[in-house]
């Protein structure tokens, strides 16, 4: 079973939906995607729990483009990062509507 699916939301925004536990290969594939992807990201965690995905979210955080996360309770501290020229803003939202509205507002 795929651990995540990628579907376009609209021009410049892709939805990354967490759908199951990550295998090593899937972690590597997502890392590669994050390196190559040129748009903004909507991370949908409705298929998981905050505890289950916390480690990967934390480790993927420095590699994320402008990203809005929603769908499960998440400890916001895992998104804290030392700001730098290579980092982008990543925020957690209670609902998909809020997440998408914020994402649409962000300039790349």
């Amino acid at each position: 079973m795929a651990s995540f699916t990628l579907t376009p939301v609209e021009r410049g925004i892709m939805r990354c939906r967490h759908t199951g536990p990550f295998s090593h290969e899937q972690v590597q594939a997502l890392a590669k995607f994050l390196e190559d992807y040129q748009g903004k990201l909507l991370v949908d965690l409705t298929g998981t729990t905050g505890d289950e995905c916390a480690r990967n979210i934390k480790q993927f955080r420095p590699m994320m483009p402008i990203t809005a996360i929603f769908g499960t309770e998440l400890d916001p501290s895992i998104l804290d990062i030392s700001e730098s020229y290579y980092t982008h803003e990543v925020r957690y939202f209670e609902t998909e509507a809020e997440a998408l509205a914020w994402l649409r507002d962000q300039e790349e």
């Binding site: 590597q28 890392a31 190559d36 030392s82 290579y86």
Partner: protein, 418 residues
Amino acid sequence: MNAQTAIDTFVKETGGWIASQLEACTRCGICAEACHFYQATGIPEYAPVWKIELLRRAYEQRFTMMGKVKLAMGFEKPITGEDLTTWSDLVYQACTVCNKCSMVCPMGIQLGPLIHDVRSGLAEAGVVPADLAEAVQKQVEEGSPLGVTDDVFEDRMEWVADEWEVDLPIDEAGAETLVVFSSIEIMKFPDNIAAIAEILNAAGEKWTLSSKGREVVNFGFYEGSHERTKLFLGRVLDAARELGVKKIVVTECGHAYDALRWTAANIMDVPDVEIMHISGLIGEYVGRGRIKLQQGAFENGTLTFHDACKIQRRGGHINEPRQVLNILAPTSFKEMTPNREASICCGGGGGVIAIKEADDLRYETFKLKLEQIEAVGADTVVMTCSNCRLQFLDSFKHYESKIKVMGLSEMVAEALVE
């Protein structure tokens, strides 16, 4: 801002070598044509010879009769605080210290090191772009300009080891080789870390990472501060001493390689260790048969290679990546023009990518590189520097280009044959 501090630093640095370099310049302006910032914009102030103007003025006004007379008669101005601000923009934002200008100078003047000396005077006077100064301060206080603290390093290495299923030894007693990654690799390119680990393990290298000398990037060197360059170099060299290694391998950071390989020995005590770049080590492994690669493993599309200024032009690792690419992609690999030591910088080196204010200029200069890649029809560009890689990824995004970027180490790791 203290103009006198900058002048004193310029004067202090001006020994026979700098004097001879400055005296040799005929103001022919050929260096301008080699500078990618000048080529991209046509702005005359971007000519390398103009970037060292403050150093020349300080030298002439202090040490030459003509300079003293010109100053006394009002034909030439003393260096002012306003000059420092102007030259700060020129040498930090419109120069990557790529040193291509030195290659074309008919008098053999080493313009890159002279521009670095201008940076040194500005750093002493505190006229460093705010973004760069902030990163330097982070490296002083947290041990990393990009947030690779003790905890982050430990966490991240554990994650890479686990998810990429590679051994990443840390502080391993008895290791012969200390491997130091750049912070950008640690934070942005975990696949590169795993790839390098796989290659070293496949070659049977007795290697280790160090929790103390955990990253090699040197923002003090970008800034031009001797004191902070030494401080950051010292962390890696002390780790090498404590571990008793025979070799330090710098992974994918050009400036860090320059600082550790050549600058360190001129400004501080360096232990008796060999200092290598990963691309040189890979070439050695392939040449000696310590690793074997699948012939033609990347034989699709068109690949080209970007020569990094500090690794290929300065470091001389021009042939090894080509030797590898000729195995991995014997017909797909095409050279862009210019290439090898004549290659132009990507525009993100020397700390420029860290300065937000320089973004527009950085993208403008990258356009030259983009045109060269497009001219050869490449769909993938391969490189050996993570700083260049970040510049390529960011600039491809800026120009909405679909050209792919690949690290040479990752290609090698993927093509390893048991």
